[in-house]
């Protein structure tokens, strides 16, 4: 699928992953045939509206699918080995040691009744087998690393500002020296200035520690600031995948184009965000063919009947009937 021609397997390789949620006997497909690879140290943005499947994708990679979710197809490989992502107990050693998560809205993601130092030290003790003293020392180090004076470690989450709490989340995510950090809307609840500081911190730590970063967001401008590559998701599928520069300069999928146009641009004086017309797709009753066709400005007859596959186009990938040559078309009818 990917163009990576290196001999070493990629750090993370997601192959045709489909996840269903059981909704009273009627399973709804949250993500459908998602495939991508992540190299060590790479920063990828995963962008889409709510319900696009970006969070399910991330949670599947982290082995955090909820009990009513089921992996119906595909696999996730980490350093070449398949991850038991639908087996809660077998995933436990992988969690936090290899992949950690910075959740959104850190007020609720931190336990309100424990001091932050204890929450940072906890995975060091439980996963790395450190003593309480060693773990506390490590936690103090981590706090300094994310720009919080180590003495603030005795504070409780509610005593910190939103930006500070998000820094604590980041420190906690670094505790077991993982290879991948997933940022699940890590800056959503923050004001613009704090948001920029947190993104800058994430970017610095990533390059310093050689971490791979998967950034989940609905906000393309966040991705522009700190990712190498971006994948756009719509209704459970990846519709476009490319480098940040390419996607912003030459968006291919009509949905991507509309997303970029909807970013408020202070320079051009447009204050109002122009929303994409139409309703977000309903997962239980997904539109036929390309799920975006009811809202698509460039819709064609074929779009309502055939699901476009995610194919190589230029240096990236796109899933849209507009970008298929007529020869390919005939071959791929029953893909």
């Amino acid at each position: 699928m990917t163009s990576s021609s290196q001999e070493k397997p990629p750090l993370l390789d997601v192959k045709g992953l489909s996840v269903d949620y059981g909704l009273k006997g009627v399973p709804s497909r949250a993500i459908d045939s998602v495939s991508f690879a992540l190299r060590a140290g790479e920063a990828v943005g995963l962008v889409g509206e709510s319900g696009s499947g970006k969070t399910t994708t991330a949670m599947a990679i982290a082995g955090l699918l909820s009990p009513n979710a089921r992996v119906s197809k595909g696999e996730v490989r980490y350093r070449g080995e398949q991850l038991p992502i639908d087996d809660d107990a077998s995933m436990r050693p992988h969690r936090w040691s290899e992949t950690s998560v910075v959740f959104q809205g850190a007020m609720n993601a931190l336990n309100p009744v424990h001091r932050i130092i204890k929450q940072i030290a906890e995975p060091c003790m439980l996963k790395l087998g450190m003593s309480r003293g060693e773990a506390t020392a490590r936690a103090r180090e981590l706090l300094e690393l994310v720009g919080i004076p180590a003495d603030r470690g005795s504070a409780y989450p509610h005593e910190l500002s939103g930006g500070m709490r998000q820094r604590v989340m980041i420190a906690m995510a670094l505790a077991c020296r993982p290879s991948i950090i997933i940022g699940d809307e890590p800056t959503t609840a923050l004001d613009v200035i704090t948001q920029a500081q947190i993104l800058k911190l994430l970017g610095e730590l990533r390059s310093r520690l050689g971490l791979a970063l998967i950034l989940i967001t609905h906000d393309l401008s966040v991705v522009a600031e700190c990712c190498d590559r971006v994948m756009i998701m719509y209704a459970g599928r990846i519709v476009e995948d490319g480098t940040v520069a390419e996607i912003f300069a030459q968006p291919k999928h009509p949905y991507t184009r509309l997303l970029i146009e909807s970013i408020p641009n202070p320079a051009s004086g447009k204050k109002m965000i122009r929303p994409i017309p139409g309703d977000p797709p309903n997962l239980v009753n997904r539109p036929s063919g390309c799920a975006f066709h009811p809202r698509c400005p460039s819709v064609m007859a074929v779009c309502a009947t055939e699901v476009p596959s995610l194919d190589q186009f230029g240096r990236g990938r796109v899933a849209c009937h507009l970008y298929r040559s007529s020869q390919e078309d005939k071959v791929a009818v029953h893909a």
């Binding site: 982290a62 969690r95 959740f103 609720n108 993601a109 336990n111 509610h158 906690m172």
Partner: protein
């Protein structure tokens, strides 16, 4: 965290407790003046006792009953209450109400204390587990039976226990605290006491267990949906670690509050159960006082119950403060 917030928090709790106790005492004062008959005579042991005019006059002087009701008499009444002077019993001629109550108090403390501790340990454990494994077999079983226990009046439970375990099976005595006669020796009478204690404690505890299971389960099923539980899972904690390190303490917060909210249930349960078993405690005294219309004793009991409820609330508020750093501000 910071000392100022904490002491201000504790100060506010204590002031609220004192205001509540003051209102209990004022209510007592009003009720006592409302009862028909001469208060001086009532204070000397009720309408049916014969006292001399001098005694009544002395009592009037002593209590300032010739002075205006408010504020003089109220102030006197309150200061007497604070000193522990609650007047004399009607029924037990010439005995101080405070003495009567103190005499009966240990039996009740033992009964309620053991029942409470048992119920909290069992009820909270079962409830926490049921909420953690919500929808499981044990959850359905525990929820169903605890709603049933919760809706059963404790004294009725006591009567049923007597019918089954005392009258039919003869395993435990169903009356009083000691067997009359033969048993001697420390160990013998201690075991005898325990045997007498079994059914009353069970009756009070069963109702409480129902209540605590219901409350702890509800609290736990809210906690498991919290974001920090997802964080704990992402950190690679096992189920047991998530439960003990992250869920338990948060689930205890509403449990502490709800337990104090239902203190009336404990009091009603204990008093009526004591009445069933003729347990020589406050409940038995209450029934005697009700039957003999012994108002000073009844009011003394009211003051005692009020004070213990206020103290229980105080303890719960302080415990909540210890459990939850957020309220200390």
């Amino acid at each position: 965290m910071n000392g100022g917030g904490t002491s201000r928090h504790i100060g506010r709790i204590i002031i609220r407790a004192i205001v509540t106790l003051l209102m209990v005492a004022i209510l007592n004062f009003i009720l006592f003046r409302v009862i028909p008959g001469d208060p001086a005579k009532l204070l000397l042991g009720g309408a049916r006792t014969s006292v001399t005019a001098e005694q009544i006059e002395a009592q009037r002087q002593n209590w300032g009953l010739n002075r205006p009701l408010f504020p003089d008499q109220l102030v006197d009444y309150l200061s007497a209450t604070v000193r522990g002077d609650l007047g004399y019993s009607f029924k037990f001629r010439g005995r101080h109400v405070a003495d009567l109550i103190l005499e009966r108090l240990p039996a009740t403390i033992i009964l309620v204390g053991i029942a409470q501790l048992t119920a909290i340990v069992i009820g909270v454990m079962v409830g926490i587990y049921a909420g953690w494994r919500r929808g499981g077999t044990l959850d359905n079983l525990a929820t169903g039976s605890s709603l049933l226990l919760y809706s059963t009046p404790s004294f009725w439970m006591a009567m049923i226990l007597v019918v089954i375990f005392s009258t039919s099976l003869g395993w435990f005595p169903g009356y009083g605290a000691y067997s009359p006669g033969a048993i001697t020796g420390f160990l013998g009478s201690f075991l005898d006491y325990l045997r007498h204690l079994t059914l009353p404690v069970t009756a009070v505890a069963l109702g409480l267990i129902g209540q605590y299971v219901v409350v702890a389960r509800a609290a736990m099923s809210d906690v498991v949906t919290e974001d920090y539980m997802v964080t704990a899972r992402a950190k690679g904690l096992t189920g047991g670690q998530m439960l003990m390190r992250h869920a338990f303490r948060n689930a205890m917060l509403p449990v502490v509050t709800l337990i104090t909210l239902n203190l009336g249930y404990v009091v009603a349960g204990a008093i009526t159960v004591e009445a069933v078993f003729a347990w020589p405690g406050i409940g038995g005294l209450t029934v005697e006082a009700l039957n003999a219309r012994d108002y000073p004793v009844l009011q003394g009991i009211f003051l005692l119950l009020g004070a213990s409820i206020v103290v229980a609330n105080l303890v719960a508020d302080l415990a909540y403060g210890l459990l939850d750093p957020r309220v200390r501000q």
